[in-house]
C-alpha cells in the first residue's frame, strides 16, 4: 500500500466530525429556532476547526 494514507484517515475523521457538528446544529435549531443565528456561528466555527485537521495532515507530515 502506498500513498498518503494519513490524509485519507484525517479526511474520514473530519467528515465524521463535520457530520456530527451538523447533526448537533440541526437538532439545536429544531429545539430552539429562535437561536438559529448563534447556533450557526458556533457550528460554522466548529466545522472550520474540524476541517483544518485535514490540512494539518496534508502539510505537517512529510509525504
Amino acid at each position: 500500500m502506498s500513498g498518503s494514507i494519513h490524509v485519507g484517515l484525517a479526511a474520514m475523521g473530519a467528515g465524521i466530525g463535520v457530520g456530527l457538528t451538523g447533526l448537533g446544529a440541526a437538532a439545536a435549531v429544531g429545539r430552539n429556532p429562535g437561536a438559529a443565528t448563534p447556533i450557526l456561528v458556533q457550528a460554522i466555527l466548529a466545522i472550520a476547526f474540524t476541517e483544518a485537521i485535514v490540512f494539518y495532515a496534508l502539510y505537517l507530515l512529510p509525504h
Binding site: 490524509v7 460554522i44 476547526f49 490540512f55
Partner: protein
C-alpha cells in the same frame, strides 16, 4: 495517484506568483484528471500570462461593476427593477451580517464581506454557464473522431487556486489590521496568549503558563486559516467541475441528460461556498475584534 495529486497541489501554492506552467502533453492526458488542476494560458504579455480563469474573473468583475452602476445611476426613492434587486441583495446581506458580528463591526467591515460574497457567488455561477470549459482550442481524437478541447477559452474563476489564495491572503492582511485597530498590538497579543476565565492565586499562575502554551496552538491554527479558506473554495469548485465533466462523458448518448441534476447541485454548492467563505471570514474577524471580556459587566 493521491500522493502525486497533493504534492502537485502544494507545488502550485509555491508557484503562485511565478505563474509557473507545466507543459501538458497528450501522453499525460491519460493519467491526468479530466479537468486539469491548473488553468491554461491564453496569451503571454512578456513573462505575464493571461489564463482562462483570469479571463472569467475579469468578465464577472466587469459585469458586476457595470450592472451595479447601471442599476444605481438614477436612484429612485421607491426602487424598482435592477435598483430594487441590488438594494435587496445589499440590505439582506447587511442585516444578516449585523445579526452575526454586531452593529459596530459590520459598519466597518461590510464592504469586504459583501464584495467577497457577491463576487464568489457570481464567479461560481458563471462557471456553470454552458460553454465555459467546452469552447476552446483542441484536437480531433483520431481513434473515435470526437473533438476534444485541450485549452478551453473560459474556466471557472474559483477553479484556480491562485484566485482563492489571493482572496484568502487579502482577508488575512485585513484581519490583522482590523484586530490591531480594535485592541491595539498589546491587546492583540493578549487576546492570543493571555489567560481566559476567572482564576486567582497560585492557580492563576498556572493558567498564565498554560494559556501561553495554548497561544502557540492558536497561532498555528490562525496561520492555517488562509490555507483552509483557499483550499475549501478551490476544492469544492474544482471537484464540481470534475463531476460535471465526468458525468458528461459517462454515457455518450445521454450526455445532455445525466449532468442536469449535478448542475442543480453545483448551483447550491456555489451559493453555499460563497456563504461559508463570507461567514468564516466574518466570524474570524468577530473573534479577534471582540473587546477583552474583563471590560464587560459581570453577570
Amino acid at each position: 495517484m493521491q500522493h502525486c495529486f497533493f504534492s502537485r497541489l502544494s507545488l502550485l501554492i509555491f508557484a503562485l506568483c511565478g505563474g509557473c506552467i507545466f507543459a501538458t502533453s497528450t501522453f499525460a492526458a491519460e493519467v491526468e484528471p479530466a479537468v486539469p488542476l491548473k488553468p491554461d494560458e491564453l496569451v503571454h504579455i512578456g513573462k505575464f500570462a493571461i489564463t482562462n480563469s483570469m479571463l472569467v474573473t475579469w468578465i464577472v468583475a466587469a459585469g458586476i461593476i457595470v450592472f451595479a452602476q447601471l442599476a444605481t445611476r438614477k436612484i429612485q426613492v421607491i426602487p424598482s427593477g435592477a435598483q430594487n434587486f441590488w438594494e435587496w441583495l445589499v440590505e439582506s446581506l447587511y442585516n444578516f451580517l449585523e445579526s452575526i458580528i454586531g452593529r459596530e463591526l459590520v459598519r466597518k467591515t461590510f464592504w469586504f464581506f459583501a464584495t467577497i460574497f457577491i463576487f464568489i457567488l457570481f464567479v461560481n455561477w458563471f462557471g456553470l454557464i454552458p460553454g465555459v470549459g467546452t469552447i476552446g482550442w483542441g484536437h480531433h481524437d483520431p481513434a473515435t473522431g470526437v473533438f476534444h478541447v485541450d485549452r478551453p477559452l473560459l474556466r471557472g474563476g474559483n477553479a484556480d487556486l491562485n484566485m482563492t489564495t489571493a482572496m484568502a491572503a487579502i482577508f488575512f492582511v485585513l484581519w490583522i489590521i482590523w484586530a490591531i485597530q480594535a485592541n491595539g498590538v498589546g491587546g492583540f497579543l493578549l487576546h492570543i496568549f493571555g489567560p481566559k476565565g476567572e482564576t486567582s492565586g497560585f492557580l492563576k499562575l498556572i493558567m498564565v503558563v498554560i494559556f501561553f502554551m495554548v497561544g502557540w496552538l492558536e497561532v498555528i491554527s490562525i496561520l492555517f486559516r488562509p490555507i483552509s479558506l483557499s483550499f475549501r473554495l478551490f476544492g469544492n469548485v474544482y471537484a464540481g467541475e470534475s463531476i460535471l465533466e465526468a458525468m458528461s462523458n459517462m454515457v455518450p448518448m445521454l450526455s445532455w441528460l445525466i449532468p442536469i441534476p449535478f448542475y442543480f447541485m453545483e448551483l447550491l454548492v456555489g451559493f453555499v461556498q460563497a456563504l461559508v467563505f463570507m461567514l468564516l471570514t466574518a466570524v474570524f474577524t468577530l473573534l479577534i475584534a471582540q473587546h477583552p471580556p474583563s471590560h464587560e459587566p459581570q453577570h
